[in-house]
Symmetry: C2
């Protein structure tokens, strides 16, 4: 009789871990450091050790554990094969479940962290109750996780949901981190919003609370709420780029809901006022009734989604 699932979210500095019962309740949450030295050779053994220790502590028998779900910051295909992940020092292509089982023999499923987090938001977060959703993470970059009919879209090389690099501007002159030009991420990430704001401030001398202070995405959204005209113009630009990008995504997968997460989403529902009108303008009419919701699980989305990978196998 299976009673427990482990959900693991591997990041570049820490590994978040969660123990769940079969009804989606988190029983314990803890973290261990990600040791990325020597090609990241300790990452999986350290996770296995930590799970083993937790099972011993709580007197959990191996037979009671349905499995271990693992999300990692890199491209992972539908079989759990990872294609190099600079963030963890992994510079070879290998199968995560096979490798993990050498250290701890439990059923293992692995996925890309953004895709896994999307699964978490569908299961217990902002996308609860939906089967067709797009989770958009507006952080330092723009990430995405696509769920179609309840299933993660991993894509051929685990690059499904790499929506930050959809082209949305022909007239850009600066390069994106990916070396392309005019990527969604250049306008709609936290960094992108700050960049739009700095460029707007340089354009003229219009009065703004954003002048003479550190221009961050948070500062921009605080200023929008305060009614600052310059900040509102920046929000409109952000909204047009993101609305246009989400409309393109809708033309591919026609989601019921867009779930917006990441640091920028802390601004709250005010974001939707700027995204939705442009989404409606650019989207095919059959896709215009898509809803917008805020992500709810924050940094726990990964462990939830990882646990869900295992529960979906049952």
């Amino acid at each position: 009789m299976k009673k427990y699932v482990f959900g693991v979210d591997v990041g570049g500095t820490t590994v978040k871990m969660g123990l769940f019962d079969m009804n989606a309740n988190v029983l314990e949450k803890w973290e261990i450091p990600s040791v990325t030295a020597n090609g990241g050779e300790r990452v999986l053994p350290d996770i296995a050790d930590s799970i083993n220790k937790k099972m011993y502590e709580l007197e959990i028998d191996k037979e009671e554990v349905a499995g271990v779900g693992i999300g990692v910051p890199g491209p992972v295909d539908a079989n759990g094969t990872v294609f190099k992940t600079a963030n963890l020092g992994w510079d070879t292509v290998f199968n995560i479940p096979e490798e993990f089982k050498k250290h701890l023999d439990l059923p293992v499923m692995a996925g890309n962290d953004a895709n896994v987090a999307a699964l978490g938001e569908m299961w217990q977060g902002g996308g609860k109750g939906y089967k067709d959703l797009v989770v958009v993470t507006l952080g330092t970059g723009v990430g995405g996780g696509i769920i179609c009919n309840g299933q993660m879209v991993t894509g051929a090389n685990g690059a499904g949901g790499e929506i930050g690099h959809i082209h949305v501007e022909d007239n850009e002159t600066e390069e994106c981190g990916c070396h392309n030009i005019g990527c969604l991420e250049q306008y709609s990430s936290a960094t992108g919003i700050a960049r739009l704001a700095r460029k707007r401030l340089e354009k003229d001398n219009e009065d703004s609370v954003l002048r003479d202070r550190d221009v961050t995405a948070k500062a921009v959204w605080d200023a929008v709420k305060y009614g600052d005209k310059v900040a509102i113009q920046v929000a409109e630009q952000f909204g047009e780029y993101l609305g246009k990008g989400l409309a393109a995504i809708a033309g591919v997968v026609n989601p019921e809901v867009f779930v917006i997460g990441g640091g920028v989403s802390k601004a709250g529902e005010v974001l939707f006022e700027y995204i939705k009108p442009y989404y409606m303008q650019y989207a095919f009419r059959g896709c215009r009734d898509a809803k917008f919701a805020l992500a709810k699980l924050g940094n726990d989305a990964g462990i939830f989604g990882a646990a869900k990978l295992i529960l979906d196998m049952q």
Copy 2:
């Protein structure tokens, strides 16, 4: 013991039908007219009658039939519910399998015709051997069918794969049939290619074999093969718009292969020379190794895909 499957592709003027064995061999193909009068009330009963007659003719027992797959030209969700289809006169929302079973009690699955055709191309056509593919139909319009991990992406309202209306040009002045502006379909459909050519010819007096004749997409591609400079410029424009659109799609679903079908695809692999360089320019690097292939099943893709819907249930 199941021995047979019927695949049905419903069009605005004819219904194509196929009888398959369980190993994907077509045993018979035939057509009946689509009677769209009176709200299309005869469409499903006529199909049921025709299948019944065929079973009688060939002495096939109902117990030997695995089911009937049906593709229709309109949005269909994952349960087979269709949301109005002007082409067939259907102006209500109803469940195709439930309705069909009133006339012939066999297992039924239904889907959108473009999605179903994509499934056919994956199964026995240009996408054979792949599980993550995007089928792009360049006809009067631009249609699409998305397959992720072997499954059709229907989307929330059956509008998955409506890629013809992805926005690719900010500076367009003419409206698309969908009333948006700058849709992929305005440049990459047969109609779109002819439009680009006419606009290019009007711009100046440069010599071209396209002058003083009926400017169709076929004429443009024939002229490209002949080495006509004006036609080649049009092909470059076509390629840039389509390459940009396909790159956006790749950022969502990261396919292994793009399968290009529809009337325009009769031009052959020369199309890829104009699409690929722009695809490579705009696509995220993790998606750049996608292959390009021509669709192979032509007008039979629909009946193949419809049969596959049923075989996937077995």
